[in-house]
């Protein structure tokens, strides 16, 4: 019967165009529903895994989803900001360990995340190359950022202005890279981590410049009256924090009012978690959310949509099967003469049946292999696609 397989293969090879269309149709018919289901399941697993590792998030009242996506994935749509005071007040309750997050700015497309060193312990992040950030203006970058921009310890990365026309306060800050984090396959790989005070400097709440009291600052002084010194436009503002000029950096205003986008709360047990949630239940300005619950609501909608998509694809598949069956039947009809010749030469009816079955089998086998390969490739890049989508 290997002869029948050979003839079947040769027939398909000779009629490449028709065979390719059949293979493409069946591949899509197999690939789309399977890939949709796997992608949704993988995405759901990835989303919930990070959410489940984050017990509670404190933030401004408003969109819970925006708050969760910004805190977990540093999503570009920042939620309403809260004051640093809220972080200090939460800490005073001692119901949990609190980690500040200020994720609003970007550097070369990567989110700049202002936080404390506790964040690294909480997420289990390890510096693979270099050292942990120690000074104002230093940063550690995620593995993907380092790979994409070709950066390493000792080099620097500049924050991006929020808009080209933003001349009010958010100036580019050149940050020194202290270390590169080990890849973890999470959103942390695509972020630039700095001390939260560094993000306040990027926002223009703190800055560093020539000491006007110093005699060398003469040309930058517009007027000097009693204790009040007025600078002119030639005053040099530092765009990089170095060991030499770090002492010249200072903040204006009360640090209590400085902004944060959220605070991650890690209570030691359920009791403390409940007490903490009770504390913010009636707050008009703040909300304390459970990320897992917020994402479950989102995923419920996603799964519902997925079911409709798969139902649609199933209907489409039935139509495709009908068309493919018709194509095969018409093809057999057109080849009656060829089969008759085979029978006259001495082939059995079983041989002709195997020949037809082998052609159908080859088409389905190639389609199944292609669909499997496509599914693997899609699955491989699914997390990257999801990550990109979440950080947009």
């Amino acid at each position: 019967m290997t002869g029948a397989l050979f003839l079947g293969w040769r027939y398909l090879a000779q009629h490449r165009f028709k065979s390719s269309i059949l293979v493409a149709s069946i591949t899509l018919m197999l690939f789309l529903p399977v890939a949709t289901r796997l992608l949704v399941e993988d995405s759901a697993a990835a989303l919930t895994a990070r959410a489940d590792q984050t017990p509670l998030i404190l933030g401004a009242r408003g969109s819970e989803l925006e708050l969760v996506l910004n805190t977990l994935y540093f999503h570009a749509e920042s939620p309403e900001e809260i004051e640093n005071r809220a972080f200090a007040e939460a800490q005073s309750t001692e119901f949990a360990e609190f980690i500040p997050i200020h994720s609003r700015f970007k550097a070369h497309g990567a989110a700049i995340v202002g936080t404390s060193l506790d964040y690294f312990d909480f997420r289990g992040l390890r510096v693979a190359n270099g050292r942990q950030m120690g000074l104002l203006g230093e940063c550690v970058i995620g593995a993907n950022v380092a790979a994409r921009l070709g950066l390493g310890p000792g080099e620097s990365i500049v924050s991006s202005p929020e808009t080209v026309f933003d001349i009010a306060g958010v100036y580019p800050l050149k940050m020194t890279i202290a270390g590169v984090l080990a890849a973890g396959g999470t959103a942390d790989d695509d972020a630039v981590f700095v001390d939260v005070r560094t993000t306040w400097i990027i926002q223009g709440l703190g800055h560093g410049h020539t000491d006007l009291a110093d005699a060398g600052a003469g040309a930058a002084v517009l007027s000097r009256r009693d204790d009040m010194i007025t600078a002119n436009a030639s005053l040099t503002q530092y765009a990089e924090i170095t060991p030499e000029n770090i002492s010249a950096f200072h903040f204006h205003g009360a640090s209590d009012t400085f902004p944060l986008t959220s605070v991650i709360a890690v209570p030691p047990d359920q009791k403390n978690a409940t007490l903490l949630r009770g504390r913010y239940q009636d707050s008009e300005l703040l909300q304390l959310v459970v990320p897992g619950n917020v994402l479950d609501d989102l995923l419920e909608t996603v799964f519902a949509v997925q079911n409709y998509v798969i139902l649609g694809l199933a209907i489409l598949s039935l139509a495709t099967v009908a068309v493919i069956t018709l194509v095969f039947l018409l093809s057999q009809q057109l080849r009656k003469g060829e089969f008759h010749t085979l029978l006259r030469i001495g082939a059995s009816k079983g041989y002709v049946a195997v020949l037809i079955a082998s052609e159908i089998g080859f088409v389905f086998l190639i389609s199944a292999l292609l669909a499997a390969a496509l599914t693997l490739v899609t699955r491989h890049y699914a997390m990257q696609i999801l990550q990109t989508f979440l950080t947009l």
């Binding site: 002869g3 000779q14 029978l343 001495g346 041989y351």
Partner: protein, 231 residues
């Protein structure tokens, strides 16, 4: 040799052909082994039917057909298939080459159907046959790239692949010009003679009869039943 006794055959049309019937009776018919015989007669006299009965592609109602001492009338369908592959080489009027196979693959078609022997040996045999008919340069061509005369030569090679003791040709020259007709008949007779095969060929062309050992008029071989003459 071929030996037919008291053979009765009846054909009932099917589908749009349902109203047509055809029947014939052959009381006795014999062709000696290694001879070449031309079968002539008007259309509808049963020439093609007789070839079909001898090849086992048609079934008789009664009577016996012996081919090389094998009573094929008692064979099952699968036995008949095996019998044809190893005993009968057939050349058809419309060549009936498979368009998606190359010339040499078409010649090897009986091997692809029945197997037997190493592929390399069979391929060499097919190449030798094609060389013998002057088609060695076209072994990898498709049938569509050949002239009609060349296609019929390929069909003859296919029929000869298994060195069959019986060679049946149903008007193989019907679609050819005069020069190609002569060439193909010469080829068939020569191949049959070289292989000691029995050649039985249906033809309407009387100019070809002198190439055969004998010529039989179908009207003297078979009697039509019920006065029908549909085929």
């Amino acid at each position: 040799m071929i030996n037919i006794r008291e053979l009765k055959f009846r054909y009932h049309g099917r589908g749009p052909d349902a109203s047509s019937t055809f029947g014939m009776r052959v009381d006795a018919f014999a062709v000696p082994q290694g001879s070449s015989t031309a079968l002539v007669g008007p259309s509808g006299s049963g020439k093609t039917t007789l070839l079909g009965l001898i090849a086992g592609t048609l079934r008789a109602e009664s009577g016996t057909i012996n081919v090389n001492d094998q009573a094929i009338t008692g064979f099952s369908d699968s036995d008949l298939g095996r019998f044809r592959i190893s005993n009968v080489g057939q050349v058809f009027q419309a060549f009936e080459l498979l368009s998606y196979l190359t010339v040499i693959e078409n010649v090897m078609l009986p091997w692809y159907i029945a197997g037997g022997g190493r592929k390399g040996d069979v391929r060499k045999r097919a190449a030798d046959l094609l060389r013998g008919v002057g088609l060695e340069s076209k072994i990898n061509a498709r049938p569509g790239e050949l002239s009609q005369g060349e296609q019929q030569r390929v069909a003859v090679c296919r029929a000869m692949l298994n060195n069959p003791p019986l060679l049946l040709a149903d008007e193989p020259t019907g679609n050819l010009d005069q020069e190609n007709k002569q060439n193909v008949v010469d080829l068939l007779v020569e191949q049959a003679r070289r292989n000691s095969s029995t050649l039985l060929m249906v033809t309407h062309d009387e100019s070809l009869l002198n190439k055969f050992d004998s010529a039989l008029d179908m009207r003297h071989v078979a009697q039509l039943l019920d006065g029908q003459s549909q085929r």
